[in-house]
Assembly symmetry: C2
Homo-oligomer: 290 residues x 2
């Protein structure tokens, strides 16, 4: 991967994909996109000055997400991936309406991934039909976007707001007894309410970083589950969209990335590397107002 | 306490005090002000659409705090109380420079309160001079505003960033074993680095809500401390400032409050009541941009 200036270096035939998150978690989606669509230039924006979105109202999240999406379009994005569950759940239609380019979110691909898992033999239990439990932020849960998407695919769904998980990940306590204890409390409550659960859908891009802790906790409470996140599914859906909308692309040897953040560049580089799985360099500070 | 419209109802002789926080915690300062300066009208702003400040950069916090302070001045505030440790630590000079009215923060009164405690007999220990340990947000600790203020008063100071405490308070886990465990980790680390500590200064307006848990944890690790917060000290400093600057006020029978928030009014009313200690009604939604 190479760095490149903000302007699209090959506007004629290359593809520029905008990827947006309120913070760092969406870098797990970018990480999944890079090997799957290597012939693209990526623009990643983390709206770190206004994070978190997950505790805020629909109106505020929509305002922030639309201004962030417009910024990436102004920088030359040909299509946009909303790599943030809260922004997708609360504001995907607002963003699609505001932009003249294809916009894809993480909720629908996540639901499709749950369907693929649930379609395996023996997916119904004696307690009833297979239930998908979604862990997410307060705002995502209150929107019921995942329940609507899963129900539309014929799946039962339950949701659990987990406000402490993002702060625990950002504290770096990804492998820590306190995180295990918090997960035990959240998961025990959620599974008591939905005992037929067979699939756990991680409805926040921070949560893949504690997937080992989630498996460990599920084992400790005697309720192992298939755990899926939407990063890979979103990358596959984006690849399908690219194949449909942009069939004649110039192949490049490797993808390039330009990073933008609305707050501290140093912090974005430091925390972002954990999510991207490789160093994040040359971050550009942008002011979206506020 | 009565509600009143946004405009100062008695501009001639009454006093309007603006009180500002990034969220809800500053309501503990307002709670301390009400009985001490009853002859005033209060304007409280919680910048809930852009919280938290404690994890963000100095530049971003200063921009948010100055725009919030200007809003309260525009609404008629005669003086301003920055009831937010992070905004005070990072941006008090910026706010004072931007406004033509007196502006007071929480750091200096908090340091004065620590001095008053430390001046009691027996304040020096065999390990060395009495040390004040400050618990605060990441941004407040990085600014070292408390260390500078305490050192200027002749006190030794150490600081500990506690990023999980605000999320735990906002989750409502004020009396919860997970909060006790997190406090035990933070306090054990901090006291190992500063064993001569005798005074604990709560450098964030959320922390008074877990003061019982803090005392319980200090007892459990065998290091009881005098715990102080800056709310009462800030209210007393504000009363002294009022007596100096506004000597001829019209007494009123009871204070009145007008509340403003930049995000969800419903959430402000619900969470805010815990901090104010009485119902928060008639909150006005304001848009400060962003």
């Amino acid at each position: 991967m190479t760095d490149s200036p903000a302007a699209n270096p090959n506007p004629a035939k290359s593809l520029t994909i905008g990827v947006f998150d309120s913070g760092f978690g969406g870098l797990t989606v970018l990480r999944a996109l890079l090997p799957l669509i290597p012939h693209a230039h990526y623009l990643f924006l983390g709206d770190t000055a206004r994070l978190p979105y997950g505790s805020k109202s629909r109106e505020t999240v929509a305002r922030y997400a639309v201004s962030s999406a417009k910024f990436l379009h102004d920088q030359g994005a040909d299509l946009l991936v909303i790599a943030c569950n809260t922004a997708t759940a609360l504001a995907l239609p607002d963003i699609q309406q505001a932009l003249p380019i294809p916009v894809i979110g993480v909720v629908e691909p996540g639901a499709q991934a749950a369907l693929a898992t649930s379609s395996s033999p023996g997916s119904n239990t004696p307690d009833g039909p297979n239930n998908v439990l979604v862990l997410a932020t307060q705002a995502t849960v209150q929107s019921h976007a995942y329940t609507h998407a899963l129900n539309a695919l014929g799946l039962e769904a339950s949701e659990k707001a987990c406000p402490l998980l993002v702060p625990l990940v950002e504290e770096g306590w990804t492998n820590h007894p306190v995180t295990d204890e918090v997960l035990k409390i959240y998961l025990t409550e959620a599974l008591a309410a939905a005992p037929a659960t067979q699939t756990l859908l991680l409805g926040c891009t921070h949560y893949p970083l504690i997937e080992p802790a989630i498996h460990r906790t599920l084992d400790s409470i005697g309720h192992p589950l298939t755990v899926i996140d939407s990063a890979d599914a979103t990358a596959r859906a984006t690849a399908a969209l690219v194949a449909n909308h942009f069939p004649n692309l110039t192949p490049t040897t490797q993808p390039s990335c330009t990073f933008y953040a609305t707050d501290s560049i140093e912090k974005f580089q430091r925390l972002g590397s954990n999510f991207l799985g490789q160093p994040v360099t040359k971050v550009n500070l942008v002011d979206l107002g506020g």
